[in-house]
Amino acid sequence: MTGILRLLTARRGAGRLHWTDWATYAYLGLAVLLMFGPVLWLVLSSFKTPAALLEFPPSFLPMTQKEVRVEGYPQPLPLFSVTMEDGSTRELAQVRRVGLIAQMVDPKAPGTTVRVAADKRQPVREMAFAVSNYTEPLAKYDFLRFLENSLFVTLIATAITLVINSMAAYALSIYEFKGKTLAMLAVIGTLMIPITIVLVPVYLVVTEMGLVNSLWAVILPGAATPTGVFLLRQYMLTIPRDLIEAARMDKASEWRIYARIVMPLSAPALAVLTIFSIMWRWNDFLWPLAVLTKSEVQTLQIGLNAFQGELQTQWHYLLAMTVVTLTPVAIVFAFLQRFIATGIANTGMK
C-alpha cells in the first residue's frame, strides 16, 4: 500500500514518463475497468435473449443462434454448422432432434433430410439485439406509467424546490431581520437529518392530508430541502450589496429584486441545485417505497424493485428496465459532467 502511495505522490515534470506515472495509469486503468465494466455488462446483457442469458459461461456480446426459413417448414429452423463424415462442414438447419440423432435439412436443397449425430453439430451464432426485452415490459407491464410518474415527480418537485428554496435563501442572504439566526439554525440543524428519521410521522402527516398513494405524497415532503437553501444562500451572499441597493434606488420592488436581479445572478447555483434535485428525486427510494403501495402511482425505482421481486427469473426484462432507469441520468451526466463535478466539489454536498 505504501508503495502505491509513494508512487502517487511523486511529482515529475513533463517529458519522459516516470515509472510512478505508469503506476498511476495502472490504478486509473483498473478503475476504468471496475467502474465502467459493470455498466457496460448490464447494457450488453440487456440485449440478450432469455436463452442467451442462461448460458454459462456467458458470451460477451449478445449472441443468438441463427435461424433460417426453409421451404416446406412453417417455423424458422435453427442453423447448425455440421461436421460431415467425410470431414467437410456444411451449414444445415435442424428439423427436429430425437435423442442423439438430429434430423437436418440443407436450406439450399429443402427436399432431402439428413440424419446427423447431435455432437457433430455446432450452432451458428450471430449478434442479435433482443429489442423485445425493452418493448415487451413497456407494453405488458406498467413501466410506461412508472416512467411517467417518475418524470412528473422529478419535474414538479424540482420546480417547487427551486422556487421555495431560492425565496428562503434570498430572505436569508439579502436581509437582516429578527429571527434570522434562528431560521439559519433550523436550516443547518436539519441538513443531515434524513427522512429516515421521521418516516413514521411524515407518513402520518401525509395520511392526514389524504395524500397516501398520490404522487404529491412523494413531491411535497422533500420540497423544502435544507441543502438547497444553504447552497443558494452561500452563493447569494457573494452577490455585491451594491447591486441590491442600486436596484432599490431604481425603484425595484423586493419581488423584482429577487426575480430580476438575484435569481439571474444565482444561475450557476440554481443549476447545481436543479441537477441535485433531479438526481435526488429520480433516484429517491425509501420514502416512495413507504408511501406508494399501489402500482399505478409507483415510480420507476419502486417499480423496478418490485419487478425484481416478482420477476426473479425474467432477468431479460429486469436488465432492460434497469437500463431505461439509468439512461436519463447517464444523458444528464454526459452533458453536465464537469459542471456537476465542480458543483459538488465546491459545495461538499450531494
Binding site: 442462461l54 437529518i193 421521521v198 402527516v205 419581488w255 423584482r256 433516484n283 423496478l304 451526466f333
Partner: protein, 339 residues
C-alpha cells in the same frame, strides 16, 4: 463553499429569448401580490414573506414530524393517529434496549434491532476504511499531471448519480450464481460461489458496492482539497530535496487533513443511514446478516404484518440522536476548516 463558477455569457438564441419571455411572464404574474404585500407590510417585513413557503413545508414535514416522533416513541398500540395511542412512557425504549449482553444480539429481546446495530457498525467501520483509502488514492492519482484527467474524474464520479436500485441490480446481475464473476472464477479453476448465501460475502459485497457507488463523491472533495494546496509549497519541498514519501506524509496529508476529516465524518453519517443499495442487493440477507438499522425501522413500521409505529419511532429517535451528534461534529469541523 461558494466557488461555483460565475455565469458565462449566454448565447442569445431564439430559445434563450423565449425562455426569457417565459421568465418575465412568471415574474409579472407574481408581481402584483408581492407588491401589495410590500405596500402593506413594508420592506422590513418582506423577508418573512419570502421565508414563509419554505418554512411551511419545513414545519409540516420536518419539525412537526420530529415532535410527533417523540410522541410515537412513548406511546403504544397500532393506531397511526397519536391521540388514539395509549401512553406507555419509556416502554418502547426499554424494550429496544433490553439486552442480556450488548455484545451479543441474540441475548436481546428485540434481537433484530441489535443485529441491525451490529451490522450497521460493521458496515460503517469497513466502509470508512475502504472509502477513505480508495478515494484518497483516486484523488492523489487525479491530482498528478496526467493526460485525460477530466475523463478519469468522470470514471470515478458517474456512479454517484446512479440510483441505489440501479447500482444494486447491476451488481446483483454480476454476482448471481451464473454471473460474470462466477464465470471468471470457474475459468480460473474455482468453484462457483453463492455470494448472497454466505454472510461474509454478502457483507463484503454490500460494502464493496457502496464504495463503488459513492467513492467518486469523496474523491472530488479530496481532489478539491489537494488542488487547494499551493504549488509553491511542493516546489519549495523539491528545492529542499524532500523525498516523495516525506512530501506525502509531511506536506500533502497534513494539509489535506481537514478535508480528510470532513470526508470521514460524511462517510460516517451516510454509513449509519445505509439502506437502499444493501436492501435491494441482499434484501438484508442471508437471514439478517446484512440487515441495517434503517431497514429495521422501515420493516417494523411498514413491511411487517403488525405495523409497530412506536417501536420504529423509538429506534429512529435513537438513530436521530446519533446523527445529530455527528452533524454537530461535522459542522464544527467545517467551521474550523473555514476559519
Amino acid at each position: 463553499m461558494t466557488l461555483i463558477a460565475p455565469p458565462r455569457a449566454r448565447p442569445r438564441g431564439p430559445s434563450a429569448s423565449l425562455l426569457d419571455r417565459f421568465g418575465h411572464a412568471v415574474v409579472r404574474v407574481f408581481e402584483p401580490p408581492f407588491r401589495a404585500l410590500q405596500r402593506i407590510l413594508g420592506v422590513r417585513r418582506m423577508p418573512y414573506v419570502f421565508l414563509l413557503p419554505n418554512a411551511v413545508f419545513f414545519g409540516l414535514f420536518v419539525f412537526l414530524p420530529i415532535g410527533i416522533n417523540l410522541v410515537y416513541s412513548v406511546t403504544g398500540g397500532t393506531a397511526l393517529f397519536p391521540s388514539q395511542r395509549p401512553y406507555v412512557g419509556p416502554e418502547q425504549y426499554a424494550y429496544l434496549l433490553d439486552c442480556g449482553s450488548y455484545l451479543d444480539p441474540s441475548t436481546c429481546r428485540e434481537d433484530h434491532f441489535w443485529r441491525g446495530v451490529a451490522n450497521t457498525l460493521k458496515f460503517t467501520v469497513f466502509q470508512m476504511v475502504a472509502m477513505v483509502l480508495f478515494s484518497l488514492l483516486a484523488a492523489l492519482a487525479l491530482n498528478r499531471p496526467i493526460r485525460g484527467r477530466g475523463f478519469f474524474r468522470a470514471v470515478f464520479f458517474f456512479p454517484v448519480l446512479l440510483s441505489p436500485v440501479v447500482v444494486a441490480l447491476i451488481w446483483k446481475w454480476i454476482l448471481q450464481r451464473d454471473g460474470l464473476l462466477n464465470a471468471a472464477v470457474t475459468s480460473l479453476g474455482g468453484q462457483k460461489i453463492l455470494f448472497f448465501v454466505d454472510p461474509s460475502w454478502a457483507m463484503f459485497w454490500s460494502v464493496f458496492v457502496s464504495v463503488w457507488a459513492h467513492m467518486g463523491f469523496y474523491t472530488l472533495i479530496l481532489l478539491a482539497g489537494l488542488q487547494a494546496i499551493p504549488r509553491d509549497i511542493y516546489e519549495a519541498a523539491e528545492m529542499d530535496g524532500t523525498r516523495p514519501w516525506r512530501v506525502l506524509t509531511r506536506i500533502t496529508l497534513p494539509l489535506l487533513w481537514p478535508n480528510l476529516l470532513v470526508v470521514l465524518v460524511l462517510v460516517l453519517i451516510r454509513s449509519v443511514q445505509v439502506f437502499d443499495e444493501v436492501f435491494v442487493l441482499t434484501g438484508g440477507g442471508p437471514g439478517t446478516a446484512t440487515q441495517m438499522i434503517v431497514q429495521y425501522i422501515y420493516t417494523t413500521a411498514f413491511a411487517n404484518q403488525v405495523q409497530n409505529f412506536g417501536l420504529a419511532a423509538a429506534a429512529s429517535v435513537l438513530l436521530g440522536a446519533v446523527l445529530f451528534v455527528l452533524t454537530l461534529l461535522q459542522l464544527f469541523l467545517t467551521r474550523r476548516r473555514a476559519a
